[in-house]
Amino acid sequence: MTTISATSLDLTFQTADGPVHALRGIDLTVEAGEFVSFIGPSGCGKTTFLRCVAALETPTAGELQVQGMTPDEARRARAYGYVFQAAGLYPWRTIGRNVTLPLEIMGYPKAERRERMERVLDLVELSGFANKYPWQLSGGMQQRASIARALSFDAGILLMDEPFGALDEIVRDRLNEELLALWARTGKTCLFVTHSIPEAVYLSTKIVVMSPRPGRIADVIDSPLPRERPLDIRDTPEFLAVAHRVREGLREGMEAA
């Protein structure tokens, strides 16, 4: 089943210095249950594309469908959970009440809010931290809480914009492993923006390599790696071959720009 389909999508920002082509001719299909990474240098439009899917930006041309709806309809149908680079937890709410905030806004009854909060905190291995304040948690734990919050209302799609970008490599490795396990358990469709080639190759079933000015797709790689991926898969020739192809795609994109 197709979850997201973009057909010759364009987005041009009108700025004081003239138009900026953030996206140009994006064609992409994402099937349900896929893990798709978007990789490319700054300004290649990967975040912009994610924001278009979330209906936070409106494309200027082309067609974009999310679960068969327009992005705005999908947003109102609560089709996706969004995880930003900054955890964005409210410092005046405990972790538990941060996780229940979207549920409160969406009008879930109190008992169900509590039950869901416990379930998703368990999913990200933060059970027992519901009554802590965000500043009492490390950066990695805060980001896990932010993922729990995005999972709390059972959206089919998880949009993640460099969620681990501000974390150190060691924490990042572990969170990548946990994210894969989470994805396997929940069967969500994941769209994941990253700067890191190993991260993209390790996580994804499909890697979208993008290039800047104008933001466009340079290459789409279907990963040959199995779904079951221990961390040391990163030393296998198959992994290195995919990483090599991503690197080539990035280089060609930069040269063409």
Partner: protein, 360 residues
């Protein structure tokens, strides 16, 4: 799970040690603070000698002392020249005058003590009652000087209480108005462009100029007493709240607001769950300025109303009759009242932000 929660600062320290640290920190600042206060008092005492020299010399002359320079010539001499002329007389007479040009600190302190705590409580029954007044929803009897301390007509606590009532009412009105305007400004571009310039313009008009108008206009529609004074207080106190709250309500980042949008949150939800909590630290900073401004407004409001009681009335009466000691003690009473009000807001701030988990 290998990462652990960072423990709260001071969590591992025992209570007694924390108290000890607090005491040590206060000891560290007490020395410099006392030195500054002592310096100011020394300047004050020194200044009183030339300031009061003319009266000192006149008093001494009346008492029989003779001076080389005639009274007519002395009138044109500065204080320092008079001190040079008769240093002993100037020093002896500097601190004991009834209506000094500059009362000495101990005279002001003595008057404050006398009109706050030491009003003789031992005399007279209720027939010495001079008047009754309404304050804080109760009727109080006002007594001659010698009666119960708080209700004596000289009592600074009585006067401060009379000024505090419109201060608090005006502060409440001003703060609510300020928050309401800030909410409007943040949500409506039209209000942002139209209200803010007027709010700023309103504060450029001297309050002394506009206070009588407010009294007159409100009197003509039949409103008297507490409310007009409270309106003048509110006029001064709403402004810092508008400015601070407009800033505070805009404190959430674009990412915070995007997150709310992804959940389909309405403007009211965003206000309640994001903007208002985020603005709390800004609100308290504004309230501290606002409450002090409200007190100034209430004092100024007493001047054109011809009020006979209240700190402002006390200042005015003091200046009519040249009672400088009374003026200074009323000024200090006002300053202490303002400090207490600001401290009270600070206490509420610590409590609220602590409960919100915003104070670490």
């Amino acid at each position: 799970m290998t990462d652990h929660p960072i423990s709260a600062p001071g969590a591992g320290i025992g209570r007694s040690l924390r108290v000890g640290l607090l005491v040590r920190r206060m000891m560290g600042t007490a020395g410099p603070v006392l030195a500054v206060v002592a310096g100011l008092l020394a300047i004050w005492y020194l200044a009183a000698i030339p300031m009061n020299a003319a009266q000192s010399v006149t008093d001494a002359e009346r008492a029989g002392a003779a001076f080389d320079v005639s009274a007519a010539e002395r009138r044109d001499m500065g204080g320092l020249s008079l001190v040079a002329l008769a240093p002993g007389t100037a020093l002896a007479g500097a601190y004991g005058q009834e209506r000094p040009r500059l009362p000495a600190p101990h005279q002001v302190a003595g008057e404050m003590w006398a009109s706050t705590f030491a009003l003789g409580a031992d005399c007279g029954p209720a027939e010495r009652e001079r008047d009754r007044l309404e304050l804080f929803g109760r009727t109080w009897a006002v007594h001659e000087d010698c009666l119960a301390p708080v209700t004596s007509r000289r009592s600074l606590i009585l006067h401060a209480g009379l000024t505090l009532a419109p201060t608090l009412l005006g502060f409440a009105i001003g703060s609510l108005l300020g928050v309401a305007l800030a909410v409007g400004i943040v949500h409506s571009r039209v209000m942002d462009l139209s209200v803010m310039p007027w709010a700023i313009a309103s504060q450029t008009i001297p309050i002394l100029a506009i206070a009588p108008m407010i009294i007159v206009v409100m009197n003509s529609v039949g409103i008297q007493g507490l409310l007009p004074k409270a309106i003048i207080s509110a006029y001064l106190s709403f402004f810092p709240v508008v400015v601070g709250m407009a800033k505070g309500l805009r404190a959430p980042s674009a990412a915070d607001l995007d997150l709310m949008r992804t959940w389909g949150a309405s403007g009211a939800r965003i206000l309640w769950h994001l903007r208002l909590p985020a603005s709390a630290p800004y609100l308290f900073a504004s309230l501290k300025i606002g409450v002090a401004a409200a007190l100034v407004g209430a004092i100024v409001a007493e001047l054109p109303t011809g009020a006979v009681r209240g700190l402002g009335a006390r200042l005015l009466a003091g200046s009519y009759y040249g009672q400088t000691i009374q003026i200074w003690s009323a000024l200090f009473a006002a300053a202490i009242a303002a400090a207490l009000l600001v401290a009270a807001i600070g206490g509420i701030e610590r409590g609220v932000l602590g409960r919100m988990g915003l104070r670490r």
